[in-house]
């Protein structure tokens, strides 16, 4: 249904904007580069594309406008009538028709020029054709300026119309201006309609929503209606009339008994009689507003009589099934009677709607499917509702104003400067006098509160008993078993052995071994060390005459005495003997040869010595001027170092 899409109508651009938009779009979205020397079909295609593109754009936009705006024949008659009242049906239809024509014209133009373009034989000709086509399309749109403006205004106003659902439960408020319709709607719903002392404050329809019996109700506030014939009514009043005419709702005719609105009671009743035909088939309630100023009883006799006349008149009308129109006194200022009006109006409307539905044919289909289930009593036990005591007490406390307890803040204010925040007085302890104790917290790194236990003494006793038992069982006696002497001796020996081992290791580490590893027998052992060592091991060294080394020494002495005479024989053993000639004189015959030999030696050594070389094996070449240090530019780095 197009009913609620009034807000979604596309924006109607002004003629100038429309043209600019479309042309710039064509410029951007179609290729722009073309040269004379291209092939003719390419040139033609290029320009045809531009024409078609522009036509397409215009066409789309205009179609959209035509589709978005509601057709007065398709929408609910209430809205159709409302739009007629507000925008003039003829004008509206005319504007849309113009747009339609414009669309068709543009299509035709494009078609013609595309056809002509087929016979264009140069770039210049095609370009001129395109220019003409675009120009004509834009002129067409320029001519629609007025329609477009009008439609834009209609669109803006349409989107701001209140969304009234014509099919749901509605209450309409009507009456003279300034009687209190807007105040009433403000009171009953969340709507916020302007209320002012001058007439025609409300210039259009307003909607408010309220809830009653778990249903949503619409309340429609209308502008005031004056008493003159239909033809002479202005737009504002016509809106009210339209609402009354088309919406199937309960009508609340509001009267001002105190005549503060500026119109007398007779005038109001005249109006009522004139509008009566509009109230046919609608539940009606007369609301006597502003009763805080004047009540019906206070009215003069004749006025009261006319009132009653109206009431009686209601009975004569056979259209009404009710016992007459109810008259309810209200005051939107003191809120007296407002609720009553609301409930009555809603009830009446509901019953009316239900009846109409029952009369219709659709109901029977539904009735067959409905079933109301009622719980039946299974025994005679009374089951009243249960409210817990606490809730009752609290409700009572809320109602009665109990004096509150004294707060800390009050105490603070009383004492002023002397006030000290002492939270410990609220503590709930077993003994009241312990409240201000200083509680120890830590002992030797342990938290005292970890040990707190009501049964601690009992547990401690048990523990101590256990401990006693253990002690008696001899667990805590020190274990230094009296080791027998043998064991101690062994220990002592082991200690000495370990020490000796360590010393030996140290000695061997201290040895300064440079030469080859010779077997032990090469090394000469001193007599003194041997004696010391052996005595250290416990052997008796006093009787040395029988010892092996002494015997050997005697034997060797005797041998060497003999051997001294035969000096020329070189000893067979490898041990060094004094009779071996040195290397530089061995094999030299005489002194002359010796001299020559020495000279030769010196000659061969001369060159080496001059060079300062160690020997003939010293062939090392020193790199005294390394390239990597002396060559190259001075790059990053200091210059005082080379």
């Amino acid at each position: 249904m197009a009913l609620y899409n009034f807000k979604k109508i596309m924006v109607v651009p002004t003629a100038k904007d429309f043209i600019d938009l479309t042309l710039s779009k064509t410029q951007r979205k179609t290729p722009t580069v073309i040269h004379k020397h291209y092939q003719i079909h390419r040139i033609r295609h290029f320009y045809m594309r531009k024409v078609k593109y522009t036509q397409q754009n215009y066409h789309d936009r205009l179609t959209q406008i035509l589709a978005d705006f509601p057709k007065l024949d398709d929408i609910h008659p209430f809205y159709a009538d409302l739009m007629n009242v507000l925008y003039d049906k003829d004008h509206y239809k005319l504007a849309l028709g113009q747009i339609n024509i414009a669309k068709n014209l543009i299509d035709n133009v494009a078609k013609d020029y595309v056809r002509l373009m087929k016979y264009g034989d140069s770039l210049y000709r095609c370009k001129q054709l395109k220019r003409a086509a675009l120009g004509r399309m834009c002129t067409i749109i320029k001519r629609q300026k007025q329609s477009l403006e009008y439609l834009e205004q209609v669109r803006q106003h349409l989107s701001r119309l209140p969304s009234i659902d014509p099919n749901t439960r509605t209450l309409i408020l009507c009456g003279y201006p300034n009687v209190g319709k807007s105040s009433f709607i403000n009171k009953v719903t969340r709507a916020d309609v302007e209320v002012q002392p001058y007439a025609f404050t409300t210039k259009s329809l307003f909607v408010g929503h309220m809830d009653y019996k778990y249903l949503r109700w619409q309340v429609v506030d209308t502008p005031g209606i004056l008493d003159h014939p239909l033809e002479e009514r202005n737009t504002i009043e016509m809106q009210a009339i339209t609402a009354l005419a088309h919406l199937r709702a309960a009508v609340l005719y509001i009267m001002d008994v105190s005549e503060q609105c500026g119109h007398s009671l007779e005038e109001q009743m005249e109006l009522f009689k004139n509008i009566r035909p509009l109230f046919a088939n609608k539940p009606l309630i007369i609301v006597a507003n502003k009763c805080d100023v004047k009540r019906i009883e206070e009215l003069s006799e004749e006025n009261q009589a006319s009132f009653l006349f109206i009431l009686y008149q209601g009975k004569l009308f056979k259209d009404f099934e009710e016992e007459g129109i109810s008259v309810i006194e209200t005051s939107t200022l003191t809120e007296e009677g407002v609720m009553k009006v609301k409930t009555e109006a809603c009830d009446k409307l509901l019953s009316y709607r239900v009846e109409t539905k029952m009369k219709g044919r659709k109901v029977n289909d539904v009735l067959n499917r409905l079933h109301l289930a009622v719980p039946s009593k299974r025994d005679n036990k009374e089951r009243p509702p249960f409210i817990p005591e606490g809730a009752l007490l609290r409700r009572k406390a809320m109602e009665v104003d109990i004096p509150k307890r004294k707060l800390e803040r009050d105490i603070e204010l009383e004492l002023g400067d002397d006030y000290v925040l002492d939270l410990q007085k609220y503590w709930d302890l077993m003994n009241e006098n312990e409240k201000y104790d200083k509680i120890p917290e830590i002992w030797e790194g342990h938290n005292i509160s970890d040990y707190i236990d009501p049964d601690i003494m009992k547990k401690l006793e048990e523990l101590e008993q256990e401990e006693d038992l253990r002690e008696k069982a001899g667990e805590y006696e020190s274990d230094t078993e009296s080791e027998d002497e043998e064991m101690q001796e062994i220990r002592e020996l082991a200690r000495k052995i370990r020490q000796k081992k360590k010393l030996r290791i140290l000695e061997s580490k201290e040895k300064d071994v440079h030469g080859p590893r010779m077997p032990r027998t090469v090394k000469k052992v001193e007599k003194k060390t041997l004696e010391k060592e052996m005595s250290g091991l416990g052997i008796d060294m006093e009787d040395k005459s029988n010892s092996h080394y002494a015997v050997q020494a005697r034997r060797s002495r005797s041998v060497t005495r003999k051997r001294k005479r035969e000096a020329s024989e070189a000893p067979a053993s490898r041990t060094r003997s004094s009779s071996r000639p040195p290397r530089d004189v061995s094999g030299v015959r005489d002194a002359k040869m010796l001299k020559k030999v020495k000279q030769m030696m010196k000659n061969s050594q001369r060159d080496m010595n001059r060079m300062g070389k160690k020997g003939e094996a010293d062939r090392h070449v020193f790199d005294l001027k390394p390239k990597h240090l002396l060559a190259g530019k001075r790059k990053s780095g200091t210059t005082d170092r080379r």
């Binding site: 003994n431 601690i456 547990k459 020996l493």
Partner: protein, 145 residues
């Protein structure tokens, strides 16, 4: 120091050594100097009545002066007993070591006695004495016969 993790678990550290090890994600059960390792490896007393006194209780007890006084006294006694028991536990553990030490000493002595004492030290004298004694006996025997 205190470290609060994203799952609201709080870790307290006594010194930066512990804190740094934690940050390195080391498992305390494998780091030898921690209490966690010692207790899990059975190097210290874990189950004992005296250890049950100091624990975190979730039921708060209202303050009572005499209870607190008694607790302070009891706490000191419990501490003493606890220490004794812990020491005993460790001592028992180390007894085995002493046994092994003894055996090792014996082996050492048997193997390496030659480093401090020559095997036949003093034996020469003994031999001599024996020979002298034998001679004397022979002489005596000869005299008798």
């Amino acid at each position: 120091m205190m470290f609060v993790r994203n799952d609201c678990k709080i870790f307290r550290f006594c010194k930066s050594k512990c804190h740094k090890n934690f940050k390195k994600k080391r498992n305390p059960r494998k780091v030898r100097w921690t209490k966690a390792f010692r207790k899990s490896a059975g190097k210290e007393l874990t189950v004992d009545n005296s250890l049950e006194f100091e624990k975190r209780r979730n039921v708060p007890v209202k303050y009572q002066r005499e209870l607190w006084n008694k607790t302070v006294i009891a706490m000191k006694k419990v501490e003493e007993i606890k220490r004794k028991r812990q020491a005993r536990f460790i001592m028992n553990r180390l007894k085995k070591g002493k046994q092994l030490e003894k055996e090792e000493d014996i082996i050492e002595v048997k193997k390496n006695i030659h480093l401090i004492r020559a095997p036949h030290a003093g034996k020469a004298k003994q031999l001599e004495d024996k020979m002298v004694q034998k001679l004397q006996e022979d002489v005596d025997m000869g005299e008798e016969s």
